[in-house]
Assembly symmetry: C2
Homo-oligomer: 339 residues x 2
C-alpha cells in the first residue's frame, strides 16, 4: 500500500479538494490516503461520497496556515496546522511515501526544508511542474517559484533534480536539459546563466545548451532550468497568454462564422485545448530536493486536481526517485574527492 | 519634413525591408527616408517599386554588421557599415529625427550608447516594445533584452522612460507603471524588485505595484518594468505560447467541426488574432534612453514591419519625447539638489 498525505485545508476550496480525494481513493486501489485537518469538517464532507473507507484516514489538526501568513512564523506558531502535522507525519512515518498540499509556496517550502529535510548535497529545494508540450510530450520547469534569488550551484542542482524527475515520473531515458535564456547562442545571457553553463558542462546530465522562452513548449527539451523568479514569470505568462489568445480566437470565430452555424464544436475544442494550459488539470508542481516527495497543487485547485496529483506522487514514490538522487549525488561526491 | 534613417541590411531579409521602405514613403507624405547601404543593391531593388523618389535617399555604406559579430568589435572595425553610418548621421545631422534598424540588439545598443549617446541621467538605454492588450489597449514592456544584469536604479529609470513613451506614442495621460514580479503582494519578489519598489515609490511616475506575468496582456497596466532577461523571457513566451495555443486550437477545430463545413472562417480568424501576437505586425521595440529615438525591428521582420515602424518612429519624433524626458530628469535633479 502506498501511503500519501493530502492536505486540502491550505487551499481556497477545501470542499472540492475533499471530493477529489475521495475520487482519488477510488481511482488508485493501491493508495492509502491520510488527511490532516478538522475531523468534524472532514468527516461530514467525506460522508457525501462513496469510497473505500479503509484506505482514507483522518489525522486531527486544528489549525490552517493561510496564504498571507509569514511561512517561517506560521511554521513555528501553528504546530497543529494541517500542513505541519502532515509534514511531520511524512518525516516520521516510514510507511508514508509522499505529501500533496494546496498550501502557499512559502509554507510548503518551509515545511520541506525544516520539517521533512533536504537531501544531502542539495542547497535549495525547487518547485517543478511538468507541462504538456507540442507533440504530446512533457517538460519540467525548475525552479518555478521556490527561490527568487539563486546562485549558479542551485541551478546546477535543479538540473540534476529535474532530470531525475523526468526519468522517474515520465520515463524519459536521457532527459535533455537546457538553461532558460535570452538566446540559444552560448555567449548570451546574464551572469547567472554564464556561471551555470560552466558548471553544467561538467555534470552528469545531458546538457544541451540554452533555450529561448518561445520554445518552452516545443517538445525539444525535457528539463528547463532557471531561477524561481524567471520560472514563475515563464509559467504564468504561458498560462495568461493561453487564456488571452483563446478568448480572442473564440470571439473572432463567433464574429466570422457563417450566420446560424451551431458553434458547440468551438466550445468543445476550446475546452480540449485549454486543458493543457490549465494548472488545475495537470496536477501540481513537485518540491524537489527534500527527503520525500512533496507536491504542491495550486491554491485554486479543483476536485479534478487531486486524483491527478495523487497519480503523480504515486509514480514518484514507486520510482524511488529520492533514493536515485541520493545515489547520484554520492557518485558525484566520490568522483570529486577522487580527482 | 521628418527625416528617418532606415537600416535594412542588418536583418535576415533586406529585399523585403526595402519593399517595405518604399511602401512607408508612400504611406507617410511628411516623412523623408535615408537608407544606408550598398547603393547598387539598394538602387536596383528600389527600382522595382513606385514611390516618391524625392523623399528617399541612399547613404553609401559598404559593410554590414552580422548578427553573430561581437557588437563592440564590429562598432570599432566596421565604420562603413550601414548601422554605424546611419547612427553617425543620426547623431550629426540635426534634421534627422530617428533611426530604424533590423540589426542585432547588441549592435544597436552599442550604436545607441557610443555613437548617438545617452540622455544625461540615464545609465542604460533599454529596449521597449509596445504590445497590444486585451480590450484593444497597449502596454510597454521595458527592458526586453538590452540589459541582462540590472541594478534597481536602472529599472527605476526604465519606468520613467516607459511612462514617457506611453504618453508620447500612445497618448496615455498618466501611465500605470508596474514591476513584473512573482506575485502582486508587496513582499514578494527578489532582491532587485524589492530595491526597485523602494525607489519607484519616490519617483514622479504612477507606480501601481507588482504585476504577475499572467496579467501582462490584461490591459490593467501601461508600463511593465523588469530587467532585460526577465523581459525577454516574458516577451518570447507570449509569442511562443500564442503560436502553440493557436496551432492546437486550429487542429481541434478541424477535428471537431461538422463534416463538410467550409473552414475558411477559421483561417481568417486565426490570421486576425495572431496579428496581435506577432512581432512583425507591430513594428519593433524602441531603444529608449538615447539622445534620439532608435527603433529595432526583428531580424526576421518582413515588408509590413517597416511602414508600421516608420509610423511609430514618426510619432515619437513629433511628440518630442526625448526633450520631455530630459526636462523631467532635470526637474528630478533640481528637486534632489534642493532637498
Amino acid at each position: 500500500m502506498i501511503k500519501i498525505v493530502v492536505d486540502v485545508f491550505s487551499g481556497d476550496n477545501p470542499r472540492a479538494l475533499i471530493k477529489g480525494t475521495a475520487a482519488a481513493v477510488n481511482q488508485y486501489p493501491d493508495v492509502h490516503i491520510v488527511m490532516p485537518g478538522d475531523p468534524e469538517f472532514l468527516g461530514s464532507e467525506l460522508a457525501l461520497y462513496d469510497y473505500d473507507k479503509t484506505r482514507l484516514e483522518i489525522l486531527p489538526a486544528s489549525e490552517v496556515i493561510g496564504n498571507d501568513e509569514s511561512p517561517t512564523v506560521a511554521l513555528r506558531q501553528k504546530r497543529d496546522s494541517s500542513l505541519v502535522k502532515g509534514a511531520t507525519l511524512l518525516k516520521n512515518d516510514p510507511e508514508v511515501g509522499g505529501m500533496i498540499s494546496a498550501g502557499s509556496t512559502g509554507a510548503i517550502l518551509c515545511c520541506g526544508i525544516f520539517v521533512v529535510g533536504r537531501i544531502r548535497g542539495i542547497d535549495r529545494p525547487a518547485l517543478a511542474p511538468i507541462l504538456p508540450t507540442a507533440g504530446g510530450g512533457s517538460v519540467c520547469l525548475i525552479d518555478c517559484g521556490a527561490n527568487s534569488d539563486c546562485r549558479s550551484e542551485y541551478l546546477a542542482q535543479f538540473a540534476l533534480l529535474g532530470a531525475s524527475m523526468m526519468r522517474s515520473v515520465c520515463g524519459v531515458e536521457d532527459p535533455r536539459v537546457a538553461i532558460v535564456n535570452v538566446g540559444v547562442e552560448g555567449h548570451k545571457g546574464n551572469m547567472l546563466t554564464a556561471q551555470t553553463t560552466k558548471i553544467l558542462k561538467d555534470m552528469p546530465v545531458n546538457f544541451v545548451g540554452n533555450m529561448e522562452a518561445r520554445d518552452a513548449l516545443s517538445g525539444k527539451y525535457d528539463v528547463l532550468v532557471c531561477d524561481g523568479f524567471v520560472g514563475n514569470v515563464l509559467l504564468k505568462s504561458i498560462e495568461g497568454t493561453a487564456r488571452y489568445v483563446m478568448n480572442d480566437m473564440v470571439e473572432a470565430l463567433k464574429k466570422n462564422a457563417p450566420a446560424g452555424l451551431d458553434l458547440s464544436f468551438v466550445e468543445a475544442s476550446e475546452k480540449e485545448v485549454m486543458r493543457n494550459f490549465d494548472y488545475n488539470s495537470y496536477g501540481g508542481a513537485f518540491l524537489l530536493g527534500c527527503k520525500k516527495p512533496i507536491e504542491k497543487v495550486h491554491g485554486a485547485a479543483n476536485e479534478f486536481t487531486i486524483p491527478c496529483a495523487v497519480g503523480q506522487t504515486r509514480s514518484m514514490i514507486l520510482s524511488g526517485m529520492v533514493d536515485k538522487i541520493v545515489e547520484r549525488l554520492g557518485q558525484m561526491e566520490r568522483k570529486t574527492t577522487e580527482e
